[in-house]
Amino acid sequence: MLESIPLFPEQASSLAPEVDNLYFFVLAITGFFALLVAVLVVIFAIKYRDRTGNRVGAPITGSIPLELGWSIIPFFVSMAIFVWATVVFFHIVRPPDQTLEIYSTGKRWMWRFQHIDGQSEINELHVPLGRPVKVTFTSEDVLHSLYVPAFRVKADAIPGRYSSIWFTPTKTGQYHLFCAEYCGTKHSGMIGSVYVMDPDEYQAWLSGGGGLSMTARGEQLFQQLGCVSCHLNDGSGRGPSLAGKFGTQETLANGETVNVDDTYLRESILTPQLRLVAGYQPLMPTFQGLVNEEGVMSLIEYIKSLPAAPATGAATQTQAQGR
């Protein structure tokens, strides 16, 4: 074990080189300033050393040009870092269009991953090489944080809403998966592995097990919980049609608008009274306690999969322009 003292983590995602380049850039800049100051301090300390203690230094009080110089130059230098780092950041937080979706829930002290096709795994995550993957997750108790150092991605899992990370694996292998937000006794045991596999191996792995796909499970739940009785696809039910709703903007009863995304759907299912859709009565019961986090995720996946129905009479559906 001694022979392998790693200095840099593996680069296993398309984001990793971006982050590392930025790192070296900042390292170079800060290294320059650190050396500059350190070398000057050492030189001055030796060159102007006075062993007697009863002499005084030259009567210099300051220099405005110098002051301006060493405020303005570091400012612009740090702005260069800022701009670059922000660009990288937006690459990290904004996933590309076509991603493989994986859902996850963190709870003390394990991560459960749910693949669309039905497999679920604990503290292990299998992903195919070369394909952008997005993991959407939440927490069932306290804060956690999903962290894969080899991919340079991390985000906190927050109870009550969804977070996500995305990455495109670029190297097959097994990588650490950590919980990076302190969550109690076995915080350091809330770890696992990410396996990056060749696409065909991944396909084989996928077909290896698993029950219903998430969409199918969602559809099942949609029937079982009675959602269908109100949410008819043609918009004639007591509740709004959910077909094609995902990704649009909804107008609420109080005149505000809201983006229909995962967190909003989750909220609509668990606390429906909170934000009423314009033109509807607060009839929808809460499903808190009747369906677990994974059930909610399946429902969401199902709702996402509903194709947009041809425009209906429901006056309240404000389809956003981009669709």
Partner: protein
């Protein structure tokens, strides 16, 4: 060293104004002003507080330092409110393709965000 001595009349007038404003604020609350209800209530409260500060607390006659200290408190309170709200109010701006981006849903008041931030259509594959 006695500080500024205000005439009783001033105090009485301020007292009267404060009482009237209290009635006004209640009346305004019961009038439907749409989204203006909250701003109106807050404006009246700020005005009342200013009166108390300037006259009852004698800031009007105090040194610049006292004025500065007093203003400073509200300035930093403003920073707390303002910068925290930059987070909460801009969460809804960030819409990534296919939903969540780590910021969570937030309500946006007003017109929808520009088209560039619009979500793409759901992937057709599943």
């Amino acid at each position: 060293m006695a500080g500024h001595i205000s005439p009783v009349r001033t105090y009485a007038m301020i007292f009267g104004t404060l009482m009237v404003l209290t009635v006004v604020t209640v009346a305004a609350a019961f009038t439907n002003l749409g989204i203006m209800n909250f701003p109106v209530a807050i404006t009246i409260a700020i005005f009342k507080a200013t009166l108390v500060i300037l006259f009852f607390m004698h800031v009007k006659y105090s040194s610049r330092l006292t004025k500065l200290v007093c203003g400073g408190a509200f300035f930093f309170l403003g920073i707390l409110f303002f910068l925290t709200m930059t987070d909460y109010l801009s969460r809804g701006w960030f819409v990534s393709p296919r939903g969540t981006a780590g910021a969570g849903t937030q309500v946006t008041v007003g017109p929808p965000p520009p088209p560039s931030a619009q979500p793409a259509a759901p992937a057709a594959e599943h």
